[in-house]
Symmetry: C2
Subunit: 235 residues, 2 copies
């Protein structure tokens, strides 16, 4: 089994109300069990999750960060690490000024799992194939430098692979039983998208059949990947 | 540009003193600018970074965890989140009982960047190609469920891409300037390796030329990815 990541070129500028599934579907021919990874930025633009800020003031998005945070974990200088209403812990409540028009800031989508389902439904209607969809965003991590892309929403995919009961090559029950599949897929997709090149989507081809869900989605990133506070040693 | 991940099958059982580069090289034909990702487990086995434990006592590795930790961040029940001498923050100081013989525990390699350089040198000697090498391990994360693979050592690769000065599609200077390239590559490779299948290595083909270093390696995961405590809000 090999897996391939392909950048999706030619999607074009996304404005409020854009038919993202249609634009992706026009830019790439999808096969059964492809996984489409779409960056948060274009999802937020299509959904109109944008707010006006003062382009002349580099800190004018800061009140928006406070408003979008349900809890502040850390502050240092202008940097705020906070928890969003979705339960994501990230810098600046996920608010981002890159790759948006001057004078605007992009918020996180209201419900990124629903965003992913909507794109999945649109693609399935067009191609009559079973596809997975991930909405990805770029998060920092404690203890390690640099950012990586993670999933903030998904559809048609098992968010976390449950390996309980599996055994290793020696017949020993695995210690590690939950693999954050959608986060690994989001990180992989970033490798062909880049930050500066304006490629807002990628296709991952060749994924294992066990990664895909049937038509009745269960769960998503918010339900399955966000760690419950009672289970979290760093909240 | 598309990127492909290929599992490396047929490496065989790794014992102390094994020539990992030779075994990988016999199992797969490498091309220029391939990236070879090798799991920590086989590197530790080849380097003899293993300790005897009592196979009848499920907690007999716990004293080893304490010995391999320079600082304990959190404890809950049997779980210890600690910092290793390398500066990695992870569960159980990276000590792992999966995919090792009963009665043994695998420690992290002494210097995983050096391990990666050694494998890289061996592969370059055999194939006369420029390759990157990553030693990967499986870490949990705060705030998000499930584990992902990250890099604990690398050679021949830029560990963290520095995008300072780059601009987005609107000409705005990027907010996010450092991408943890080797962690995204490690996560991508895990997708074709799995936890239970015993595939200890993968090849990533098609990476951007800018990811590769010349012959004089600079830095590595410990120097470049481990966040300095003064720069870390969660230590």
């Amino acid at each position: 089994m090999s897996i391939e990541m392909l950048p999706v070129h030619g999607i074009g500028e996304i404005t409020r109300g854009a038919d993202l599934a249609g634009m992706i579907g026009s830019a790439v021919e999808l096969c059964d069990r492809d996984i489409v990874v779409v960056t948060q930025k274009v999802v937020s633009k299509a959904e109109g999750a944008m707010v006006r800020i003062d382009a002349t003031d580099p800190l004018s998005h800061k009140p928006v960060v406070e408003a979008e945070s349900v809890r502040i974990l850390r502050r240092r200088g202008d940097l705020v690490i906070s928890e969003t209403k979705h339960g994501f812990v990230c810098a600046n409540a996920g608010i981002d000024l890159s790759n948006v028009e001057s004078g605007w800031a992009a918020l996180l989508p209201e419900d990124p799992d629903r965003s992913a389902r909507r794109i999945r439904d649109g693609l399935r209607g067009r191609f009559d194939v079973r596809v997975g969809v991930i909405v990805s965003d770029t998060f920092g991590r404690p203890w390690r430098r640099g950012v990586v892309d993670v999933a903030i929403g998904c559809a048609g995919l098992v968010p976390v692979l449950d390996l309980r009961g599996s055994t290793d090559a020696y017949g020993r029950t695995l210690q590690v039983t939950e693999v954050a599949l959608v986060d690994e897929l989001a990180a992989a997709a970033e490798l062909v998208m880049g930050k500066a090149t304006g490629v807002p989507a990628a296709v991952i081809r060749g994924g294992d059949p066990s990664w895909f869900l049937g038509d009745d989605d269960r769960g998503g990133v918010v339900a399955d990947v966000v760690r419950h506070p009672s289970d979290d040693l760093f909240r």
